[in-house]
Amino acid sequence: MKNSVKKLFIVIFVIFSIFVAGCLQSNQTSENSAPINLVKMSGQEMIQKLGTGEIAGFIMWEPYPAIAVTKGLGKDLILSGKIWKDHPCCVIAYDEDWYKSTNNSDEILKRMALAQLKSVEYINNAKQSDSPDHEELINYTMQFGGMTDPAAANLSLADVEFVYNTNIPGTTTFIKNIQDFGIFDMGKWNQSGYKNASDYANSLVTNNYVDWAINNKDADFSGISLQEPVNVRYGYLINDIHELPFYIGWQKGYYKNLGINISIGEGAPFQNGAFEMQKGFKSNTIDIGSLGIPPVIIHRINSNDFSTDDARVGVIAGMNNEGSVIVVSNNITSLKDLSGKTVGYPGPGTIQHVLFLMAAEKEGLRVSN
């Protein structure tokens, strides 16, 4: 008995020494390169914590950067277009299970793409300050983005480029980066059977629906509306100005006029794309939804069981390019200044995560996440 106690003590001592060694080791790495610490939080928290100085900056989708800047809590350091010009961002995706179990799913998706095209056209017109629709657009923007300040709405719109086209080369680049940054579960990647990034991108993205939408963009809605109106459970991200086209199409009745009744899916709006993929698409509570392309890329690999279509989604249209911003407190002048400091982000595997890593890579900085 006494002996076994002694042995256990030795074991505990050894474990303890390992921890101490671990502490020293982790301290060393942080001293050598002083990584920027990414910490997950909601957009509200980012604004609040930037104000109190708990974080030195954040990377987030609009409108949070615009709100922080108009409140004078911080300033834009890098617009995501500076990290990667015209990078794809949010997209419209459908759930594979829904696709297979719905007989006219192709027809529905074509009309989803068309509604997107129409919304984007509306926004791009109304964005001009002399447009008669401008005030209406600003109101929609404030409603969807949860803003009270028209200046913030204007500012957030300026950073976002609304699109409807799919972007296979851009998707390929994202896949490569996600691979390089060690985000894929390599076991799952090997199971997936994709040969390389562009093989995966091609299987993920379908151009047909947007092509159809372009061909029918001048057609009268009543002529191409679905015979039998269908119900679609839609998922989107909370207060994300990138997905404003969805809100416009919904509010202005584009979907309805094309025979699609939008109902908001259970759990929507989601805190981030990872949630939408796992709690929405995978749980089959979402048929179609908009979210960042990286969560789609990541979860179709990591969260998937390749014997089923659980986490399998397809991308049918773009939503926006660019539109994320690294906002910092006023004393920060470069990304380097963030070394050793804490920076808010919406979570691992989000587009902001990947963009921030790309920005850091350019400057030779290290990011802990």
Binding site: H299, N302, A311, M358, A360, G364, N369
Partner: protein
């Protein structure tokens, strides 16, 4: 005879662990073959023990991918333990004197009891939202503190109050002053209870820290790790992290028990 029985018990314990792992593997294989399923539960997402093992090994140490530095489970364990130990020390420093005061003096008891009785019924998790807002840093240490301090206070009170009356009488007739009685009789006599309180408290604190780290974000900590892995859909790493949490909690409990046995040689 006794040693033989002990060995038998250890063998049964090990067999039960092995059996559990085997059952886990078999259920998952059957699930993936489509033979077995439970409604409303996505068993398919659960990794097998083998996958979990690989994930554990693969994520044990810090990995660097280009600009990305991903801390290993190793660092997360250390960060969480550090918080638990810090919160535990603060709780000990505050909890023991309060417990002794309340247990010893009726007046102090009447002052503190209403607060203790109400606050101790608020679980540590209930403090997380307020901790997020009021603490610039160290919110998770505060959560641990809340988890540890009440078991320490309550066990100290109980230890003080269950001090053998005859020992108090003995000390009095031996000429001990009231302060000597507290330091030389009540505290030593309550010491095993205090240690028990510390052990139970650290158990609660360990669970609380993991919950707190899921909400009060800092870049390292086991709670943060499993949440992150969940966000990335890396379920095998997530389960590996959960197992590490369980094992560390177990080791912590056993270590304090052994320390207690080691240093309280006089106890039956």
């Amino acid at each position: 005879m006794k040693i033989g029985e002990k060995k038998k018990e250890v063998v049964i314990n090990l067999l039960s662990l092995v059996g559990f792992v085997l059952l886990w593997q078999i259920i998952l294989i059957l699930t993936r073959e489509g033979i077995f399923s439970i409604p409303f539960i996505r068993l398919r997402d659960i990794p097998t023990p083998v996958e979990t093992w690989h994930a554990l090994i693969g994520s044990m140490f810090t990995r660097i991918y280009g600009p990305s530095l991903t801390y290993g489970i190793y660092n997360h364990v250390f960060a969480s333990l550090e918080r638990v130990i810090e919160g535990g020390i603060i709780a000990f420093i505050i909890g023991v004197p309060v417990g002794i005061g309340v247990g010893y003096s009726r007046i102090i008891g009447n002052i503190f009891n209403p607060i203790i009785e109400i606050v101790r019924n608020m679980p540590p998790m209930a403090w997380i939202p307020i901790a997020i807002f009021i603490f610039v840093s160290g919110g998770s240490i505060f959560i641990v503190f809340i988890g540890v301090v009440f078991p320490i206070i309550l066990n100290t009170i109980q230890g003080v109050r269950s001090t053998d009356e005859r020992l108090l009488d003995a000390a009095r007739t031996l000429g001990a002053s009231e302060s000597k009685i507290v330091t030389k009789v009540i505290i030593p006599s309550a010491f095993p209870s205090i240690m028990t309180g510390l052990r139970i408290g650290l158990g609660v604190g360990w669970m609380a820290i993991v919950a707190a780290e899921m909400v009060i974000r800092s870049p390292v900590g086991l709670g943060y790790f499993i949440w992150n892995m969940g966000d990335l859909g890396r379920y095998s790493e997530m389960i590996a992290g959960m197992i590490v949490i369980g094992v560390i909690g177990y080791i912590m409990n056993i270590s304090i028990l052994l320390l207690q046995r080691r240093f309280i040689k006089w106890e039956d």
